[in-house]
Symmetry: C2
Subunit: 269 residues, 2 copies
């Protein structure tokens, strides 16, 4: 048993899609969430800046006594993971491996699609991991730089004409390539899942990277006998770098439930 909390962080609100899964799987765990809302988005910035920001984010989380940190951000997982693992001793869980394992298992044709931020797609991290699992897989990737601004501005409904148009534009090459599995390589994208599924059509399996990472972390804690006491409900505490005003409303959309727990502002970097 390990009563310490789990840290979860993202550039903004996207990581809450991973948090949602984590709470469902492990309702007894205490969780510290950090969203860098004063500097979101990350995925259109340079590799150097993303690494710099990620380092500051993990440093902040390590000011708590944590048993593990979930890097619930596709951009940081693909761009800064090696640096973070070299610099920090707390066990870190990114979204790449868990999502790729699910995608390779789900794909019948081996024709797998990947969508992510420009930094994520540019890193080639998902492609390398897919090919390491299945050397005959065929990966088609597309950067979707407008998805995070759309979602962070509350634009994700499938009947939103702008969403519909942008989804069709970005996904057209993946549909043309006939992918049977699509990795949503950014934790913001599950909010667009309905619009994406509507465009891709039935028979294309969508992989939720945040949920996959949460499942992998839950497995790690179970195997290591590091879960919290199962007799009490876990508590969540939220930290954001911009004003907490408006956070609860937006966060409840990502979490599919009200935010239960304190929300505080913190300066990082």
């Amino acid at each position: 048993m390990d009563q310490r909390a789990i840290g979860v962080f993202d550039s903004g609100l996207g990581g809450l899609t991973a948090l949602r899964e984590l709470i469902a799987l492990l309702p007894h765990e205490h969780i510290i969430y950090f969203g860098d809302t004063a500097r979101v988005p990350y995925g259109t910035r340079s590799r150097e800046t993303i690494i710099n920001y990620a380092r500051q984010d993990v440093s902040f989380l390590r000011s708590f006594d944590l048993k593990a940190i979930l890097i619930a951000c596709g951009t940081v997982s693909t761009t800064a993971m090696e640096t973070l693992e070299a610099e920090f001793s707390t066990p870190l869980f990114g979204v790449v491996e868990p999502a790729v394992a699910q995608a390779v298992a789900a794909s019948v044709s081996g024709c797998i699609g990947l969508i992510g931020t420009p930094a994520t797609v540019g890193s080639g991290a998902f492609e390398r991991a897919i090919l390491a699992h299945n050397s005959t897989a065929h990966v088609t990737s597309a950067a979707c730089p407008l998805f995070v601004p759309l979602v962070e501005n509350g634009r994700y409904e499938p009947d939103d004409k702008v969403v519909e148009l942008v989804v069709a534009e970005y996904l057209q090459p993946l549909k043309a390539a006939g992918v049977d599995t699509l990795v949503l390589g950014c934790t913001h994208y599950p909010l667009l899942a309905e619009a994406i599924a509507a465009y891709m059509g039935e028979g294309v399996r969508l992989i939720n990277t945040g949920a996959a990472a949460a499942q992998a972390l839950a497995g790690f804690l179970r195997e290591g006998d590091a879960l919290s006491d199962a007799t009490a409900r876990g508590e969540q505490k939220f930290y954001v770098s911009d004003s907490p005003e408006g956070f609860e409303r937006l966060a409840s959309i990502f979490l599919h439930t009200d935010v239960c727990g304190e929300v505080a502002q913190v300066t990082v970097g």
Copy 2:
């Protein structure tokens, strides 16, 4: 005569639309430009964070010996101007007053439109300034949160279907209100001018806030006999907070010419 340089800053690249006008008006001036590309966009952040960032930006520019600073950012001009003026002695020029003076002079009907970031529209600064000039004016405002992400991602061509759709969505209430003059209350928006003009139709005058501010600053320097030596061409130096890679290509789109001058990265905040 005053040989000191002029400082120009923006959250990102938008301020280059003001710089372009400044260079055209005052080709002999030395200019230091700072774009906070590691933290753009500002206009969807809280007032407190915008003020904090603006204070750091001006502090960086004041490390040079400047005769004036052009706040070439609608969000900072409407949200942080009073704080900056109280804290810094260098003459500061924002975009509100110059643009409003032009808009009130241009409008025949007194029916004036304003578009800007959520922070700019939420501040009410343009509305107050318009009514101070013409108490019978009627102002219709619309926040356009997706315009900056679109422009910073190179999406502004009038035949871009996403641009066309978003422009129509945001401007519909202003067209319905019958405005005869439209203030582009963000220095990114002149790149969308063609798409905006196509939607609004002939007879609607667009006010370029960055250009208006540059004209006001030029007038101030001329009147104060503070122009630089007119026998030598001015030099420009560019600082950005994210990697300079890619800056020259994007900046040349905003400037309508190649970037002449050094581009360096700097850490602020």
